[in-house]
């Protein structure tokens, strides 16, 4: 069924048949339909990579910018128009490799966006090198004898930085993914949704089955507002936990803190220069 977020003509995607990105794309669109969000109010700020191409396949506003910089662009967008719903989207290489510094500092700002990271534990678009989340021992087209670096743990790092919403999902379970995404969108403040998905072309280790076998959902009894408990979860390696791992919605968001909005709530595009005021400033200098 054609949703608000579909184009009149279905675009040909650049993804490999069987790739987890298809499910993620589908769920994102469904989630926004169910949330009754007007695509006019939505912006996808995306990086570069197979994951980031998602933004090309959604009929809405988008800024498909540079590899690694989606969070910076998203910050600029949201801060200039807090009425927009802003999604920063990219792959594990995009957000945690090239974009690692922005990941840290976007969390610190508590900018009210959803950060969706398609985590296939590999660099897909550049044909299969290790990504920061590649597990130790993974053999790749560049790490021929296997990765020996400690994998980047986005969940633990985000919690350590006191991120206000930290979740992990799996493209193989679209229902749960959708639920998590919807909560992330409804959450006020920075929300990380790290989504495991299989790369059928380059990741022969972390396959659909592997994710299926090596993940589980945190259950009802789990208190995701308990930071230490959340970190314990984040460090589990036996099976990787899925769900909303941590939540902390107490802080003001970035835009709420900005003085530019203290006396004037209008988004910047609706404002006009007051040359008289500037002239007065000069004269009083």
């Amino acid at each position: 069924m054609k949703t608000n977020f579909d184009f009149d003509q279905i675009p040909e995607t650049a993804w490999c048949p069987g790739c987890g990105n298809f499910a993620i794309l589908k769920v994102i669109k469904e989630a926004f339909v169910e949330l009754n969000i007007d695509p006019m109010k939505l912006v996808f700020s995306a990086g570069i990579g197979q994951a980031a191409k998602t933004s090309q396949y959604i009929n809405s506003n988008c800024f498909n910018g540079l590899h690694g910089r989606a969070l910076s662009v998203a910050t600029g967008i949201k801060a200039s128009n807090p009425e927009l719903i802003v999604i920063a989207e990219g792959g594990d290489g995009d957000m945690y490799g090239e974009g690692g510094n922005h990941f840290i500092h976007a969390i610190r700002r508590n900018i009210d966006i959803v950060n969706i990271v398609h985590n296939n534990m590999v660099y897909g678009l550049t044909l299969g090198q290790a990504s920061p989340t590649s597990r130790k021992g993974s053999k790749t087209t560049l790490q021929l004898d296997g990765v020996f670096l400690e994998p980047f743990n986005p969940i633990a790092v985000a919690i350590s930085l006191n991120a206000s919403f930290v979740a992990r999902a799996f493209s193989g379970d679209m229902k749960q993914l959708k639920g998590i995404l919807k909560e992330a969108v409804n959450h006020k403040g920075y929300a990380l949704v790290d989504v495991f998905h299989p790369c059928v072309s380059f990741n022969k280790i972390n396959t659909f089955k592997w994710f299926k076998d090596n993940t589980y959902y945190v259950d009802e009894s789990y208190d995701n507002t308990d930071k230490m408990a959340a970190l314990e979860k984040a460090f589990e390696t036996d099976k990787l936990p899925l769900g909303i791992i941590y939540k902390n919605g107490k802080n003001k968001t970035f835009s709420e803190n900005l003085k530019a909005y203290k006396n004037n709530k209008r988004p910047l595009y609706k404002r006009e220069v007051n040359l008289k005021k500037v002239e007065k400033l000069l004269l009083s200098n």
């Binding site: 988008c62 910050t75 600029g76 510094n101 500092h105 008289k276």
Partner: protein, 563 residues
Amino acid sequence: MKNDISIVLSGEAGQGIRTVELLIIRALKNSGYNIFSTTELMSRVRGGNNTTEIRVSNKSIQSFVDKIDILIVLSRNAIYRIENRLSENTIIIGENTFIEDKYKDGQYKIKDIPLSSLAKEVGGLIYSNVIIFGLLSGIFNINLNLIKEYISEQFSAKGVNITENNINAVIKGYDYGKNLKLAIQVEKNEEIKKQIILSGTESVAIGALAGGCNFISAYPMSPSTGVIQFLAKHSEEFGVVVEQAEDEISAINMIQGAWYAGARAMTTTSGGGFALMQEGISNAAMVESPIVIHLAQRPAPSTGLPTKTEQADLNLALYTGHGEFPRIIFAPGNVEDGIFLTQKAFNLADKYQIPVIVLTDQFFIDSYQSIKPIDFSMFKPKNYFIKTDKDYIRYKITEDGISPRGVPMYGKGYVRFDSHEHDEGGFITEDPEIREKMVDKRLRKMESISKESIDAEIIGSKNYKTLIVGWGSTYGVIKEAVEVLKDDDIAFVYFKQVYPLPNNTQKILEKAKNRIIVENNATSQFGQLIKSQTGLEFNKHILKYNGMPFSLEEIIEKLKEKK
């Protein structure tokens, strides 16, 4: 001493020389004197040796001079770095113990001032600065009430006691200064009292506000940081989103997000930070986002000399970013142009959806000038984005290459920016034909951009045989040199737009028999640009790259050497 006096304050970082500078230039200006002041710093927070030069003149001036008429010594080791600028006429004023014996052999006129004990009498060493302010006011015979007013204003927030102490301090200095009887004669001009004192930094920041800037993101870097600091101070009043980025890469991408959402955004940085922004600038070109970059140059490569001056980042600005795309580069040489060009940068960035770079340097940024009030009604800030309709496409191929830019939520269309080569809708394409059309479309903007280039300005004789070419911050010194030389054969052409070259470039340059270029760099980057675009060569290059600005004497001498 007559009509052109140069005072140098020399002391340690952290002593508050800038406070004295700001007080005295305002007092002098308000007494009807033309002033110019400039600071030369070491890269440190305390200690070392910084100097500030204040020129007082009967004419409008904007250049640094070597000569020192009055030297105020505020710390030990404050003379050796400027020793070669002293002459028999120099009056050295300072605490006896700060002036090394070798300067006391009679070659200079030394005036001992017991600064520390005077300050202690008032209440402590902290009052030294205000005493110096008083001293200078006394020397120039400034109205004492005016001086007291400033002090009251400056310190009122700190309570009655402190204000009183400061007033006592200023009077002590004032009396001391008057008693020196230095017989200063500088013609005053009532008109000047109406003028405004402005630094390079302030001119860029105010120009930004006049251009509608309501978003700035930057990472601190000398000498560029003042601009974001100024805007932070006025963030609430002018509704400016101000954010210190985690690095320059974030800043350059953040401002593109801001423009995308309808803000008018800029960043401010220096060479190293600008180098880090190269990819981001190329991105702006492809997504066709307007951006304004203030690039305050300092000597490079790499960390270089963080607090000194140079004009050596022009090439990186000219050839910024990977790939091929239009850009505009302005280089203000005085604070009026600082305001005018920065303001204009926003409008042109918006109109053409391209990067516009305002290229300054430490000398420009850290200098103060007094200027006539500016008529702001000549500025026409304009938002070029359109209200979109349902069929809106972002990268429509148009005759002039400009595709109307929409903003999300304004109108009925989706706004799709894309950094890949894209079709008119903003979707990835790999079609060679579309690629070619899109390259052509983007480059085509250069035609209109060139048409509205700001002409180079000729100063001096219209019938020049010798033409001196300068750009940006060398404006003041070349202008003054030409005025001093008063030679009917000589003119100066000032480029405030360095790229694209103004339309009158070829004509102006061709007319000269003898072309001399002046640049604060080692390889004459602007000269190379002119050669590659006009085919014209220079007969002489006057280049300086030791971290210091040109002095007036230096330029005059070099011009006399061989004109």
